[in-house]
């Protein structure tokens, strides 16, 4: 292999895209990215880019010894995969299960790789 699953995923992120894998045989999303499909054992996995919409599946506010409390959440993306992330733009305790959220890229800067965060979907 010339590129690792993480390498491809990270390259998408650096372009502002949340990528996931699709198993054509299982007809379902695979996340985190892997070299084989955990549902079929096949190495046929396609890369897709998420529309970036999802729903909060589980949420907590973690309180560090120093610094402000922060949100940690599990997000169910509409394409059928789940990932750990956090919801920004609202107070961490205001993040509720069932909240509709939209992906955006977070670029920590320095040598740290970009990672996906979410914000509430604005109501029309």
């Amino acid at each position: 292999m010339t590129e690792s699953p993480l390498g491809v995923y990270q390259a998408h992120l650096e372009r502002g895209e949340l990528a996931y894998q699709w198993s054509p045989e299982a007809k379902r999303a695979v996340f985190y990215p892997r070299v084989i499909c955990p549902f079929t054992g096949s190495d046929r996995l396609e890369w897709r880019v998420s529309a970036g919409l999802g729903t909060v599946y589980a949420t907590t506010v973690t309180h560090p010894r120093e610094g402000a409390p922060y949100n940690v959440a599990l997000i169910d993306c509409d394409e059928g995969f789940r990932l750990m992330s956090r919801v920004e733009d609202i107070a961490p305790e205001a993040v509720k299960i069932g909240l509709r959220v939209r992906f955006r890229i977070h670029r920590p800067g320095g040598d740290e790789p970009s990672y996906p965060v979410f914000a509430p979907v604005e109501r029309a």
Binding site: Y32, H63, P69, Y115
Partner: protein
């Protein structure tokens, strides 16, 4: 005969090593060896009788090598499977398989940890996960808090109900002279304690202590010739559902459903037949989840089930009678202590906290972030 056979092997010797806060510069292997020595004394066997060695600790990648060298033995059967705090229940099943097959005649399972003395970070380094670590989960607490959030959302479980688990554990601990915690605890104190990861305060979370111990197992036939009443292995079951919390299929249902089903099937018993319940309570939500998943109450009912003192001393269902990981001792991989307490209860060695007329016990281990589940059902001679 295929598979593990109900009652083919027994636990014959048990011991804790020093627990709580141990002497400066004690190592995890020192504690394992101390546990082995004491557990051998408990059953009247000698180091030279051991030909099966099983062990795990977060502080040694190859603990089987380290412990065998330390003890000066070269066991015929050796297994240092490590799957988190449930490792020792897996070891029971592996030891039973080895004993049944004649791969060894006397197996000892050992554990040691000095995480309180050296610090949790030193004792068990966290692996970097590019899909989780950037979000700074305070593991394992954040993961279990996520599971609790789902349980509260789906079933209306409350923080007060979770706090009842901690209070019950404390009441049991006050009856156990070996327990770390010595003072009473109230629901209000649990709720008002320092928040760690919502809904958990520090009182919803297991202790950080040192500790270790050992369990000696042998065939049923050999067990009957030894000095203490044998505690027979009636059932074993195990299940792995994920490694990281973001890959757990349903945060309200653990692999204890499968591990419990397998253990009950082998034991030819059901939850209604179990007299003493020892569950891995790393967090208050664990007790709720495992009571449900092992069939002691319906899914979603756990919060109500643990209220009103039902699982506390004097309640109708004795759960975590040593005070649990919440109030007795939690060196990081607590499962071995569940086996020790279940055995003591069945031997009627528990003084003030003794459960009357108990002949069956369940010891349920949990590892990782609800990742590995392993259930062991034990029984006295009367259950055979």
């Amino acid at each position: 005969m295929d598979g593990l056979q109900r009652g083919s092997v027994a636990i014959v010797g048990i011991a804790e090593s020093d627990i709580g806060a141990v002497a400066k510069d004690m190592s995890a292997i020192d504690l394992m060896a101390q546990g082995v020595h004491r557990a051998l004394a408990d059953c009247g066997l000698r180091l030279s009788d051991i030909d099966g060695l099983l062990c795990a600790t977060a502080q040694s990648r190859t603990s089987g090598l380290s412990l065998a060298e330390y003890l000066g033995i070269s066991p015929a059967f050796i297994d240092s499977t490590i799957l988190g705090g449930s490792s020792f229940m897996f070891h029971v099943a592996h030891a039973q398989a080895a004993l049944q097959l004649g791969l060894c005649k006397v197996a000892v399972i050992a554990y040691g940890s000095t995480q309180r003395t050296i610090g949790r970070r030193q004792a068990s380094a966290r692996e970097y996960n590019p899909y989780e670590t950037p979000f700074r989960p305070f593991l394992p607490a954040t993961a279990y808090a996520l599971a609790a959030s789902r349980h509260m959302h789906q079933f209306g479980t409350t923080r007060t109900q979770l706090a009842a688990v901690a209070v019950a554990a404390r009441e049991w601990a006050l009856l156990n002279p070996a327990a770390w915690e010595k003072k009473p605890l109230t629901i209000d104190e649990v709720l008002a304690a320092r928040m760690i990861s919502y809904p958990f305060t520090i009182r919803d979370i297991c202790l950080v202590t040192d500790g270790g111990g050992a369990v000696v197992m042998t065939t049923a036939e050999h067990a009957r010739t030894l000095i203490k009443p044998p505690v027979f292995v009636l059932g074993c079951g195990q299940a792995i559902t994920h490694a990281n919390i973001s890959s757990m299929p349903d945060l309200t249902v653990t692999g204890a459903v499968q591990s419990g089903r397998a253990a009950y099937e082998m034991a030819r018993l059901g939850p209604g037949d179990i007299d003493v319940v020892e569950l891995y309570d790393a967090f208050t939500i664990n007790t709720v989840l495992f009571l449900e998943d092992l069939g002691f109450c319906a899914k979603g009912e756990g919060g109500r089930f643990v209220s009103d003192g039902r699982i506390a001393p004097g309640g109708t269902m004795p759960v975590n009678t040593n005070g649990g990981g919440l109030s007795y001792c939690h060196p990081g991989m607590y499962g071995l202590f569940l086996l020790v307490e279940a055995t003591r209860q069945l031997r009627r060695e528990c003084s003030a906290r003794q459960v009357a007329d108990c002949d069956t016990a369940i010891a349920h281990g949990n590892g990782g972030v609800l990742s590995s589940q392993s259930t062991v059902i034990l029984g006295t001679q009367a259950t055979l």
